[in-house]
């Protein structure tokens, strides 16, 4: 008897309709409709029972207009100096860069253990579950947790941001590693090549475009996080001055200026990433 000649078990095949009445409504579709209906009911209920706290809509919009006008049409430096704000902005960029690079290096080595085509299944599953748990808790919370351990300041921000970056990048990296064909890995294994040589000579060159692109996305996320974290951990970066201007001095002119500065950096990052993509990554 030849192995292939045995018929395959057909448990995966959906059963054909037997009765005369043929329905196109399958169980997944029923579930989908049920979920959508449930969400619609919740939305209608919460809109109907909304507590407006005696808000005067026209007054509210008027003061919103005044505030937006102060923020975005009349931005000024406020009580801080230009050099202070620019220095703080640079601190935020540096914070994002440091945590991304640290996170990327640590994440690569952990990702090797989390890739199913390289590591034993139990190890990959364990690492992936731990990383999913870390990722599920927002970056800000990790920074606050580390602030409690290490005290407020830049070091708590660095450790907290790196921690969450590692968890994020391990997922991205390990999935990229899993996409390298196991055949090419097998080819080198068959010629007696050791584990780390395979990682650095075969796996890494195949996935460098994906790694760079994920790392850059994480850099953008880390910049946004660095701003938020600066306020929370008092890391003396632009987020801290944004927080002080908005919540402490109520200087909306300065808030506007800081928002423009952040926007500028975000645009620069976007342009750099597009440039990188078109010149270095899309040559496959």
């Amino acid at each position: 008897m030849i192995e292939n000649s045995q018929s395959k078990p057909n448990m995966m095949r959906p059963t054909a309709p037997t009765s005369n009445h043929i329905s196109l409504v399958t169980t997944p579709r029923k579930i989908l409709c049920g979920v959508l209906a449930g969400l619609a009911i919740i939305t209608i209920y919460s809109l109907a029972t909304l507590d407006n706290a005696n808000l005067n809509i026209s007054d509210a919009f008027k003061s919103l207009g005044t505030n937006l006008n102060a923020m975005f049409l009349h931005p000024t430096v406020g009580q801080d100096s230009w050099s202070l704000l620019l220095h703080a902005l640079l601190t935020s960029v540096a914070l994002a860069m440091l945590t991304t690079i640290l996170g990327a290096i640590i994440a690569f080595f952990i990702a090797v253990g989390a890739a199913r085509n390289l590591a034993p299944t139990w190890l990959a599953t364990t690492i992936k579950s731990v990383m999913a748990f870390i990722r599920a808790i927002p970056t800000i919370l990790w920074v606050l947790i580390y602030s409690a351990v290490m005290g407020l300041g830049a070091s708590a921000a660095v450790v907290g941001l790196t921690f969450h970056s590692v968890a994020y990048l391990v997922k991205a990296y390990s999935e990229s590693i899993e996409e390298t064909s196991s055949d090419t890995i097998e080819a080198l294994k068959a010629s007696g090549v050791g584990f780390w040589a395979i990682i650095f000579q075969a796996v890494l060159p195949s996935i460098i475009p994906a790694l760079l692109s994920w790392t850059f996305i994480r850099f953008e996320i880390n910049f946004a996080n660095a701003v938020a974290v600066g306020a929370a951990a008092g890391a003396d970066d632009i987020g801290y001055y944004l927080f002080m201007a908005g919540n402490f001095y109520f200087n909306f002119h300065e808030v506007g200026l800081i928002v423009y500065l952040l926007l500028g950096v975000a645009i620069i990052l976007e342009v750099v990433s597009m440039h990188l993509r078109s010149h270095y990554l899309d040559h496959n």
């Binding site: 292939n4 090419t184 080819a187 068959a190 010629s191 007696g192 090549v193 000579q201 195949s206």
Partner: protein, 255 residues
């Protein structure tokens, strides 16, 4: 000389994929393994360098039993067994030259292997091997820009870079057009003679096996049903090798 004695391999409960497989392959000869799909051709080939672990038997390469080797010894033995594949299995973003140099990675220390540190002599040798398979001008070409036949020749050069005693070829021409097939088979036959290599090839195409090989092993349902010089193979032998072949299984695996 490669000597395989009483090799057995079962998958699952009692399905034999290899049953008492015995054969020998001589240096300087091209040996083909032919047989219907699912007969165990790939299992035999991959057992030889222990990519597939078998249940019992002996695999003697120059009187060393590969099955008894510990992991470190196995790496050393594998370094002297080249392997080429149906899908070439090159690292496609790297250049042809870099891929050929990968043949030396198995002989390197962990650090030198990690950072890909090659001596000038090794680079020189890699270039000469590329020249030998007619691809010297493509040394700096990325492998994904080469044709299938060219990639397979890079694969052969990579195997030669290992200074092999033996080259295992797993369906090396299944994805190639007739012209590339001829080039690749000519190179393999020439190498066997010139370098006194043991070359073992899994083949689907009987006509290619008849034209290019010296020795044929016919296998059916995990058992060897014929072993002998290619010149002694006739229609009756072929019928014996391919008997009972389930036509559906053959077509399903042919692509």
């Amino acid at each position: 000389m490669l000597k395989v004695i009483q090799l057995d391999k079962t998958y699952g409960s009692n399905k034999h994929s290899l049953q008492s497989v015995n054969f020998t392959a001589q240096p300087g000869e091209v040996t083909a393994i032919i047989g219907p799909s699912g007969a165990g051709k790939t299992t035999i080939l991959r057992s030889i360098n222990q990519l597939i672990r078998d249940d019992s038997g002996q695999i003697l390469l120059d009187d060393t039993d590969i099955r008894q080797a510990n992991p470190a010894e196995l790496r050393k033995i594998r370094h002297h067994i080249g392997m080429i594949f149906q899908n070439y299995n090159l690292i496609s973003p790297l250049t042809a030259l870099e891929n050929v140099l990968h043949g030396r990675l198995g002989a390197k220390s962990t650090l030198a292997g990690m950072f890909g540190l090659y001596s000038n002599e090794e680079k020189q040798e890699a270039l000469e091997l590329l020249d030998e398979v007619g691809l010297k001008d493509y040394a700096y070409q990325r492998c994904d820009q080469l044709s299938g036949g060219q990639q397979q020749r890079v694969g052969i050069a990579r195997a030669l870079m290992q200074h092999p005693k033996m080259i295992l070829c797993d369906e090396p021409i299944a994805s190639l057009d007739p012209k590339s097939t001829k080039i690749v088979m000519d190179i393999l036959r020439r190498l066997a003679k010139e370098k006194q290599l043991i070359i073992m090839i899994n083949l689907h195409q009987v006509d290619i096996a008849m034209d290019y090989t010296d020795h044929i092993i016919g296998i059916n349902s995990g058992m060897i049903v014929f072993e002998g010089a290619t010149s002694t193979v006739d229609d009756q032998v072929l019928q014996q090798i391919y008997r009972q072949a389930d036509p559906q299984a053959v077509t399903a695996n042919e692509n």
